[in-house]
Structure formats: C-alpha cells, structure tokens
C-alpha cells in the first residue's frame, strides 16, 4: 500500500498515505479485490486449484513475469515503454544457456544472462536519455535486432541439455516456497525500497508526472531515464535466468509472450501509462491476476479462444477501471 502520486510534495505524499484499509486505498489497487475474489472463486470451484502443487506451479509462472513487470514499471513510471524486454530475454537466455552448457557452471551462465540484460538495458538508457530517441521506436528496433541476433546464433534452435543443477534450482524449493519465488520476492523488496525510501526512487514519480517541471526543479532527468531502462533490461535478464533455470533451456523466442504479459501486468495493476503514478505492488497484483486467470481458466476447461476472450476483457475492464479511479482521485482529465 505504499504506492504514491508524485504531483504532491513528497512530505505531503507521506502524510496522505493511507494507513488503514479504506476505499481510497483500494482505488489505488484496482486489481486487489479482483484478485482476492478470483482466488476464492477458483479455489471453491476448481478441484486442486488451491493445492500446494498448483500454487507452487503458479508461483514458478509468476516469478519471471513479475520480475520483468517490475522492470517495466520503472519505465512506465516515466511515461515511456520498453518493447525490447521479450527479445532481450530471448538473447540473454541463449547466451547464458550456451555458457552453462559449455562450462557446466550454472552461476556463470546466470551471470552472463543478467549481464547481457543489463548491457542492453544500459544501451537503451544511454540512447534514449542521452540522445533523446523515442523509447517506442528505439526499443522496437532493439526488439527486432536482438531477436535476429539470437536467431542467428542458434539457427532458430533452443539451447538445452544444461547442467542438472540448473533444473534443481529452478524447480526446487526453500522453506516450502519455490526458489524462483524467493528470487521474485528479493527483487520486489529491492524495487520497493528503492521507490519508497530513496531520493532516486522518488525521482521516477516526479520526472514521470511532469518532465519539464522536473528539469526546472533541477532533478537529474537523463540519469533517471537511463536508470529506468537499465533496470528494465537487467530485470529482463533476471527473468530470463528464472525461465532458463526452470525449463532447462534457453531460446531465441522464449520471451515473445512475456513482453505482452508484463505490459498487461503493469497496466492491470494500475500503473499509469502516462507516467508519474504507480508502483511495484500494483504490478505484483496485476501479475497475480494474469497468472491466476491463465491457470484458473485452463483448469476450468475453457476453450483456448474463450480463455483469450476472458483475459482480454479483464485487461480492458481492469485498465478502464484503474484509469477511471485515477482520474477521479487526481482530478486529471
């Protein structure tokens, strides 16, 4: 419940933050009641939905999605977009899987995956912040290029036969929770602390709400934009590592679906596409809704087309509801 609107002075934002549950708090998290009710409904109606095995299964699906979504949240907070996430994930997974397979070292492979994501994120940030390229156009070109490079390296094949330790971690658990969920919790905590308690974090809201005003206020706008894309790329790398460790393979098109799902998670959660409003808790609720619907509708035996229609409707209604509540609360047109 620590999401904030940065149009207000920071001190006021703190004092205005709701300390107890009330409608205003719920209005900032439009997917939370949907999430709770959907969970109850699916638990009651679908055999085994709330079983430990299914929850662990959902957690492993949720982890990379929320990690990539958190990265995307930083970009959305500035009113920008990063379309390269899926391709970066694919390229990073391929390079890391090659290293894992050839060195038999899981952690060296993971380091390569995350470093690749960070490097491309830094490149995106540099071009967009320093040279003021449109984030949509630039990241679209990186999407195409990174995908092509990954295809070129692999000839289209995925890269598998990784060390057994990779799968042991990806499918293993610690203290009854899947290891990948622990990674997601750690990333979430870091992002939350950054946005909530640091000056750098708050600058994401201020720059996103009013970039021109932020420039006049002397805020480090280029640095903030750079960091947003750096975080997005790095977290795409972390998400890639999670998927590689779970599947035991990396592939050039591994992240194609994840891009849209990550965007859906951010928007559904209630982070504004115009910037200045949102946060990682919202993205987490959005990602949970996406995963829960994905699994729940499938377990209900709905046809694929029906599932897609329901998912689309939820995204439309959720984003419309979030937008409406946001406009009512802030008075923005």
């Amino acid at each position: 419940m620590n999401e904030q609107t940065s149009l207000q002075p920071l001190a006021k934002v703190d004092s205005d933050r709701p300390r107890t549950w009330n409608f205003a708090a719920v209005a900032k998290l439009p997917m939370l009641p949907v999430l709770v009710l959907a969970f109850i409904a699916l638990s009651v109606s679908v055999d085994g939905f709330a079983s430990a095995a299914n929850l662990a299964n959902m957690a492993r699906l949720f982890a990379p999605l929320v990690i990539a979504g958190i990265g995307m949240t930083f970009v959305f907070l500035l009113g920008e977009i990063d379309l390269s996430v899926g391709s970066v994930l694919g390229l990073a997974s391929v390079l890391g899987a090659f290293v894992m397979r050839s060195t038999d070292s899981v952690w060296l492979g993971v380091a390569v995956i995350v470093t690749t994501g960070a490097a491309i994120g830094a490149f995106n940030g540099l071009v967009i912040a320093r040279f003021r390229f449109s984030s949509f156009v630039h990241t679209l070109s990186v999407l195409v290029t990174a995908r092509a490079i990954a295809m070129l390296i692999t000839g289209g094949h995925s890269v598998g036969r990784l060390p057994v330790a990779a799968l042991q971690f990806g499918r293993g658990s610690f203290l009854a929770l899947p290891n990948l969920l622990w990674v997601a919790i750690f990333i979430y905590a870091l992002a939350h602390l950054l946005l909530r308690y640091t000056v750098t974090g708050r600058q994401f809201f201020l720059v996103g709400a009013n970039r021109r005003g932020a420039v006049f206020a002397g805020l480090a706008v280029p640095r903030t934009r750079f960091l947003a894309f750096l975080f997005s790329g790095t977290l795409a790398g972390v998400a890639a590592a999670c998927i590689v460790l779970r599947l035991g393979s990396g592939g050039p098109i591994l992240g194609d679906n994840l891009l849209l799902m990550a965007i859906a998670s951010v928007v559904l959660g209630g982070t504004s596409v115009f910037g200045g409003e949102g946060g990682v808790f919202r993205t987490a609720t959005g990602a949970l809704v996406v995963v829960m619907l994905d699994k729940g509708l499938n377990l209900l035996g709905l046809e694929f087309y029906d599932q897609a229609i329901v998912m689309g409707l939820v995204i439309i209604l959720g984003s419309a509801l979030g937008g409406h509540l946001y406009r009512r609360r802030t008075g923005r047109p």
């Binding site: 409608f23 209005a27 439009p30 009641p33 949907v34 009710l37 959907a38 409904a41 699916l42 009651v44 109606s45 679908v46 055999d47 085994g48 079983s51 095995a53 299914n54 299964n57 492993r60 699906l61 990379p64 295809m151 692999t154 000839g155 289209g156 094949h157 995925s158 890269v159 598998g160 036969r161 799968l167 499918r171 998927i243 779970r246 599947l247 035991g248 393979s249 592939g251 098109i253 194609d256 679906n257 994840l258 994905d294 699994k295 729940g296 509708l297 499938n298 377990l299 035996g301 694929f304 329901v310 409707l313 939820v314 209604l317 959720g318 419309a320 509801l321 409406h324 509540l325 009512r328």
Partner: protein, 323 residues
C-alpha cells in the same frame, strides 16, 4: 463513487460466474492430457484426429494450448500431472525444454508421448510419433530437380518457423536435395514463422525482383493463400501445364492443399499422415499408462506425395481430401 463500484461489482460477478462453472474431475477415468504448442488450422485438424483416437480408446481428455510459450506449456503439463491424468500426449513448442519436461513427467509415473514435433533427445520420452520433415523436404527437392530437367530454374523457398524443428528440417533437407542440381538457383529464402502474410509479402518481393521465377516451395499449406493471392494479381495463377504456370510444391495435406491439387494449381502435395499419427500416439499413451512396453520408441511417418494426376486414386489416403 457509484460508477466504479458498479463496474467492480459487474466485473467481479462476471468473473465469479465464470469461475463457478464445474470443473472436470478425473479420479477413476482413463484421461489423456493433451498439450498443444499452438492453435492454427493444421493443429485444429490434429486436435480433431486426437479427439477421435481418444474417443476410440474410450478415454477422456484434458486439453491445454501453450500458445507458443514453452514456460506455459511446462506449467500446463505440471498441472496435468498434479491432476493425475493417465498419460500425456504433447506437441512440444521448445524441443529442448521438452526433454526435461518429459523426464520429470515420467519420473512422476505418467507416460509422456510426443506427437508431430520430436524433442531433441528422443530417449527422454515414452514414445514419439511424427511426420518426417526431412523426408518430406527431400521429396520436394527431388521433384524440383525433375521439374527443372537440367535447365536454369529460379526457385523461391518459403521457410516455416526457424525456431521450430519441422520448419528447420523441411528447409534444410530441401536444400540438401537441390545441391545435386546446380541449374536450380534459390533466389530467395523467406522466413515466415508459419505466417501466410509473410509468405504473401515474400512471394510479392521475389516476383518483383525475379519476374522469370520458375518455382515456389511452400512448406505448409496455409502459405498457399498468400502465394495464390500474389500469383492471381500477376496473372500467373494458372493450371499445371499452362506455359505461365509456376511449379509449386507444398506440404501438409490439409483440405486447402487437396483443393489446390484438385484445381491443378500446385504440382505436388506431400500429405502428413495425421490420423495415423494420432492413433499411434494415443494407443501408445494408453498402453504405457497400463504398464505396457512401447516398441519401437519412436516412429517417423513419411508424407504421402500426390498430385493432380493421381489425386482421385489417392484421395482415400489423404485426410484433407476427405472433408
């Protein structure tokens, strides 16, 4: 706040009512978990063939579509395992990830049968049955060599999904077969990711650059829609035997392909023996779930070539000609 409250109530009620649809339970039934990599016309035909094969075995089915997402497919298969299905028949999206997915499924006591797309390590699955993309590509290549008859021949090669085993091998084995004929020049290789629109664009571009194009390789039937659109616009959509006709070879055996052969618009079609594949996959899944031994562990069924000259006599063997 009446509007948002109302919106939320309506939305949640809809969600709740959807969620209240009773879910299937599989406690004592013979249930085959079917996991598809994607849904497209060919897969719909495969699904129908599997439905019939599963019904013939008096089994029930739990179906999931991964929608081109290896992670989602892994999750769906894990769900089927936790539901306690008797066996799994899967068309893997990621042929590397399928190895570990199959191993963990089999370790949980559930047979894992792969259909159509072979995992990279065939030993990882209980049984595999599929077409033979390499044999099909080779037959197509040999047909072009024969059609060119030693004369200069410009060929457009449309490629399927290059992240997909069928797409890669249908292309590679065509190319291997053409190496014996230096008179055949592949003037363009167009990756389409199985997308007919990309096939259309690739055909249009190639015909513009090479008006004397002599042949087109369309390694899946849906590509023919795009190819025919372009040829029609250029006045080249003419029957086999017409001097303006371009030699066209396609693979799959769908109703679209059969119609194209009957209309004499393509020279050769290589039909995947789909009903037979589905029957063998389900039979192996049922047998393995009952503790039976599966031998052989993998079977590759080559496609059935047919053309305008023999379509009437071959129709009974081609699944796409029967609908």
């Amino acid at each position: 706040m009446h509007i948002p409250k109302a919106s939320m109530v309506v939305g949640l009620a809809a969600l709740l009512s959807t969620a209240m649809v009773p879910s299937p339970t599989y406690a004592k039934d013979l249930v085959i978990g079917v996991s598809f990599d994607k849904i497209e016309p060919f897969r719909v035909a495969e699904q129908k063939a599997l439905d019939e094969a599963i019904a013939a075995q008096k089994a029930k089915q739990s179906f999931a579509n991964a929608d081109k997402d290896a992670q989602r497919q892994a999750s769906q298969v894990e769900t089927m395992v936790s539901q306690g299905v008797s066996a799994i028949v899967a068309i893997p999206w990621d042929i590397e990830a399928a190895n570990d997915l199959a191993r963990t499924t089999i370790a949980a006591g559930i047979p894992f049968v792969s259909l159509d797309q072979a995992p990279s390590d065939l030993k990882s699955v209980t049984y595999h049955v599929g077409g033979d993309p390499c044999a099909d590509g080779k037959v197509a290549g040999e047909f072009f060599v024969k059609a060119a008859a030693g004369k200069p021949f410009k060929l457009l090669e449309l490629q399927g999904g290059l992240a997909n085993d069928n797409g890669i091998r249908r292309s590679k084995c065509l190319d291997d077969a053409l190496k014996a004929a230096p008179n055949i020049a592949i003037v363009a290789q167009v990756p389409t990711d199985w997308n007919p629109q990309k096939a259309l664009a690739g055909t249009e571009d190639t015909l513009q650059a090479h008006p004397d194009l002599a042949g087109i390789y369309a390694p899946w039937n849906d590509a023919l829609q795009g190819v025919f659109s372009v040829l029609k616009a250029k006045g080249k959509l003419v029957a086999v035997g017409d001097p303006k006709h371009l030699v066209i070879v396609s693979i799959d055996g769908t109703p679209l392909g059969c119609k194209a052969v009957r209309d004499k618009l393509i020279d050769l079609e290589i039909a995947t023996p789909l009903p037979e594949m589905a029957k063998r996959a389900v039979a192996a899944a049922v047998k393995a779930s009952q503790g039976g031994k599966i031998d052989p562990q993998a079977e590759f069924l080559p496609g059935i070539p047919y053309g305008p000259g023999d379509v009437d006599t071959m129709a009974s063997k081609i699944w796409g000609c029967q609908s």
